[in-house]
C-alpha cells in the first residue's frame, strides 16, 4: 500500500472537535468561602500597588518642601483617604498572613533529616515581621 492511498482514506477534521464543557460563571469565586478567600488574597495586590503610589507621592512632596508635605498630610486626614488606607491596611494584613502561612510549603527545611514543623517556620516569619516592624517604627518615632 502506498502512502498516498493511506492519506486519501484518512479524514482529518480541520478543527479540534469540541467536547461538552460547562460554562463557568465569571463570579465562580463568590459562593464558596475558600474561593472567595483566594480571590481576596489575590486582590490584596491592588492595595500593595496603591501603597507604592502613595509612598512615591509622599517622597515627592517631602522633597518639594515643607508646604507640599503639609499638604500631603492634610490629604491623609481626608475621610476618603482614611477609609482607603484602612481598607488597604486590612488587605495588606491578609497578604502578610497568607504569605507567612504558605511559607512552610514554599521552603521545606530539614534539620538532621527531620522536617522542621510548619508552625515553626511560619512562627519564625511572624517573629521576624514583628522585629522588622518594630525597627521601622523606632526609626520613625524616636
Amino acid at each position: 500500500m502506498r502512502t498516498s492511498e493511506v492519506n486519501r482514506t484518512t479524514e482529518y477534521t480541520l478543527y479540534h472537535p469540541r467536547w461538552y464543557r460547562q460554562r463557568v460563571s465569571t463570579y465562580w469565586w463568590l459562593w464558596k468561602w475558600p474561593y472567595l478567600k483566594f480571590v481576596l488574597r489575590e486582590l490584596s495586590s491592588v492595595f500593595v500597588a496603591y501603597f507604592v503610589v502613595l509612598t512615591l507621592a509622599q517622597v515627592r512632596c517631602l522633597s518639594a518642601g515643607p508646604e507640599a508635605y503639609a499638604e500631603f498630610r492634610q490629604w491623609m486626614k481626608n475621610p476618603f483617604f482614611l477609609l482607603l488606607n484602612g481598607v488597604s491596611f486590612i488587605f495588606v494584613l491578609l497578604h502578610t498572613m497568607t504569605w507567612f502561612n504558605l511559607a512552610p510549603r514554599a521552603m521545606v527545611l530539614r534539620v538532621r533529616g527531620a522536617r522542621v514543623p510548619d508552625a515553626w517556620i511560619a512562627g519564625a516569619n511572624y517573629v521576624a515581621w514583628l522585629g522588622v516592624s518594630g525597627g521601622v517604627a523606632w526609626l520613625l518615632l524616636r
Binding site: E42, S45, V48, A49, A70, S88, W99, A137, L140
Partner: protein, 117 residues
C-alpha cells in the same frame, strides 16, 4: 509560546516583592496612613523625615520598597484577571499593562530617588 522562559524570572520578582510587601508595608501603611493622620501617634517632624531621606541607604530602601512590590502586583493582578474574571481574550493587553506598569513605576521611583535634592 515564546514567553515561557520569562516565567521563572517573573515569578522570582513576584515572590521577592511578596516578601518585601509582607514584611514592610503593614507598618508603613499603619503609621503614615492611619496612626499619624488620626493622631494616635505623634508624627515625625518634616525636618527629621527630610534628614532621613538624605541618607543613601534610605533611598535604596525606598527603591526596593516601591519596585519589588510593583512586580508582585503585576504578576498577581495579571492572574487575577485571567482566572478570576476570565478575561482571556485580552491576555496580551493585560500582560503589557501589568508588567509595563511595574517597569514604569520602577523607572519613576529610580528617577525620583536618584534626583532628590
Amino acid at each position: 509560546m515564546a514567553k515561557k522562559p520569562m516565567e521563572p524570572f517573573l515569578w522570582g520578582l513576584f515572590s521577592a516583592g511578596g516578601v518585601v510587601a509582607a514584611f514592610l508595608i503593614p507598618v508603613h501603611l499603619f503609621l503614615f496612613g492611619l496612626a499619624f493622620p488620626l493622631g494616635w501617634l505623634k508624627p515625625p517632624s518634616y525636618a527629621s523625615l527630610h534628614a532621613l531621606l538624605q541618607h543613601p541607604l534610605t533611598r535604596v530602601y525606598l527603591f526596593v520598597l516601591c519596585s519589588l512590590p510593583l512586580f508582585h502586583w503585576a504578576h498577581r493582578f495579571r492572574y487575577t484577571l485571567y482566572d478570576g474574571l476570565q478575561i482571556k481574550h485580552l491576555n496580551e493587553v493585560i500582560t503589557v499593562f501589568c508588567y509595563g506598569g511595574a517597569v514604569a513605576g520602577t523607572a519613576f521611583a529610580g528617577y525620583l530617588l536618584w534626583n532628590l535634592p
